[in-house]
Symmetry: C3
Subunit: 311 residues, 3 copies
């Protein structure tokens, strides 16, 4: 029962250009962070644990300040909970929602870098209202996690706070040898009574052939305005010594409730070179197209060349 705090983190910076701009920048695209975590064995398979994690933009040394006069310094995670070796863990606080991991598992870039496909193919997107900001992290929430025989489950439920309904998210995946399948459902709190809830269901699978891992996922959502959004991601990663290559394509199709529809496409290719288990160099290129992008022809591409170091 002695104190054992682990201080961990990641600093990741890249020379990069985003879509929709001609500016080339040094940018923190991959959420540099520091965190504290610890757990205490309470006996009988029970343990108590906490986790505090803070994101920073390492290109400027900044952290987040909320508009209401408080700083969400621990903006990635702040929780305390109890875990049982068999029955899973229950925690309270500000946490990533239970669907996130499964939604992200079938993106070759795992939601990182300018090449990530998750932001097109596994998110509610609507040209008329702009991208729906997913409740990636939920304030004042309860989260349950279970990991058992290759099966992983995470479920989150949160207070309404300013919204009109309770955010809820659940995701699960099952790994059997080279195969992984996953399914996730996320309901985002609506802001106005009488609306529907933003909601999205996503399913996917990956198979590791050794020489390469193939993956695909499909998402089907509906916004508060009753616009229908369907998206998919297909991709592959291939290790080659210390290298890992990535390629993928994603698409999102929106049918507006008011009539009309449009498509948003993203294709990407990239690679990383692992200097160690904790440190890597990476380079990526992505191109967007479709009816729903307002980017000009000459800035529909994005690239990055970066260094990531975890500790």
């Amino acid at each position: 029962a002695q104190s054992s705090v682990t201080l961990y983190g990641k600093v990741d910076l890249a020379f990069s250009k985003a879509t929709g701009t001609k500016d080339k920048q040094i940018a923190d695209n991959n959420a540099s962070r520091i965190g504290l975590k610890g757990s205490e064995d309470l006996g009988n398979g029970l343990s108590a644990f906490f986790k505090l994690e803070s994101q920073l933009a390492a290109d400027m040394g900044t952290t987040t300040v909320a508009k209401d006069g408080s700083s969400t310094f621990w903006n990635r995670w702040s929780s305390v909970g109890l875990a049982h070796s068999k029955y899973g863990s229950l925690q309270l606080g500000h946490m990533e929602n239970g669907a996130w991991d499964t939604q992200t598992a079938f993106d070759p870039w795992g939601g990182d870098t300018v090449a990530q496909l998750r932001d097109v193919g596994a998110t509610l997107y609507n040209d008329a209202t702009g991208k729906v900001t997913a409740n990636r992290r939920l304030d004042n929430s309860v989260r349950y996690d279970l990991s058992m025989n290759g099966f992983k489950l995470a479920a989150s439920y949160a207070e309404k706070l300013g919204g009109k309904s309770n955010p809820f998210a659940i995701g699960g995946n099952y790994t059997m040898g080279p195969l992984m399948v996953g399914l996730a459902y996320e309901k985002i709190a609506k802001a106005t009574t009488g609306q529907s809830d933003d909601r999205i269901v996503s399913g996917g699978a990956s198979y590791d052939f050794g020489v390469a891992k193939l993956m695909a996922s499909y998402s089907d959502g509906r916004t508060v305005a009753d616009d229908k959004v369907k998206g998919f991601i297909v991709g592959a990663t291939a290790p080659y010594g210390a290298f890992k290559f990535k390629v993928g394509y994603s698409q999102s199709k929106t049918e507006l409730a008011a009539g009309g529809n449009g498509t948003f496409k993203k294709a990407a290719v990239g690679g990383e070179y692992n200097l160690s288990k904790r440190t890597k160099l990476y380079a990526d290129y992505a191109h967007i197209s479709g009816d729903l992008t307002t980017a000009q022809d000459d800035n529909k591409n994005a690239y990055d060349f970066g260094l990531s170091h975890a500790f």
Copy 2:
């Protein structure tokens, strides 16, 4: 003389309801925090030390931002000082005032949870002007601490800053076997010249009978508006294996300088179950009443059920 920084903290969250509202929430009522501290032996009984402590609201991951464009991240404590094994310690910085510990020592809840009695029976309170915010922590202050033969003393003196007088606070307590007695005086800086200073003197005692510890304290204060405030706390705590039960009652009576007076009452009961030395579950219930509360009949009660984990 080598570096030895200790990283410590607490994460504490509860399902709770406060008085004056019907909202049931996940709330951080007990000041989750992280801190850094260290000391260095300089020889001849002398040592140098520092302490930095930051509070967070773990339900949302937020820390405090002040209105003047600075973030009081180290809002609980930031100091550097010298300590002598015999003659006590002297430190400079942003610190808890010297009266706080003694004012809080005779509250069965020690100033924590929705059941704390300190906020009624050991604080300046005035229905006409609202609760006087005690200068719990003093900016730009000097603090002296002495601990000797069961006797503990703490004294603080601070710059005026925006105020018109220097905040000053002193508290002392003496422990002899099962008996503890304490006395504290706190003068809060007045904001306007010509006013009196907010000030409060508190005295109390506790006796540990083994099966239970009884405690009582009395406070007598006067606000800048010359309203007189008298309060008391009576309470008991009783250990029972890994359990600890708590019960108490506190009252505050205000005589307005302009004439008229009123009473504010709080009764509370609670218990905690220690899962380890560092981790506990707790539950509390409190009820307020009296002339000075504006809470409606149906929300004069408060409760919490929480988990607290220190590291």
Copy 3:
């Protein structure tokens, strides 16, 4: 390749009075800070490293909040980079510019305390426009460092961001036995097209005679308004057991482009007593004079008496 994070810092507070005011305060004049750093050996002389450093004002527990709604918590340094044992290190992020160390090396106070001479003799200063805020730290910058055979080089290049040119700074110094010589050039980004860049070149030398170390430096700069600024510092430090005494004089002369000129002078004396390698007491006195100070006769002096503890 295992994790090895070092948590380090300094807390430094003083009773002090600045020039231009009669207020005596408890003040944090020397940048109290906490930091995290670590490096990982990648083999073949290569290593990866990161550094995150946050300044605090320990008299109030505050950190910096920027106006744009972000908190520059890691305001002193946030970077990630690769280092080679022979060819130096390259890092990206928010960092001190490459000229700073050399500019500061010939100030007996190293840019610290109210007695520092750097702020007069090695900075662009102009009574008409006020002191030019040097880009001490550069956002979105690249920095190269090389240390070899007594020779040290640091160079920084940064994005324009809001400015109209790219900040650039380079500094180098060479140490041979008791002698050290240094040269630095800094170009600060201009805010408006058509202006010149703020720029300053500084050179200096120090010689350690054992009983005392003598040092002198000269700076020559030009502001965006084409005002010419020339400054110098002369000083000495002398160790005596656990004591170290410091004395120095600096001067800055400005020729306004619009005609007219003026002089700013600062003389200072001080001493420190090292309680250990990490902890010291210090006292300083400084006096300013000249055409360019608007301070009244009775507040042209400054002093401090402080405690500094590093961990």
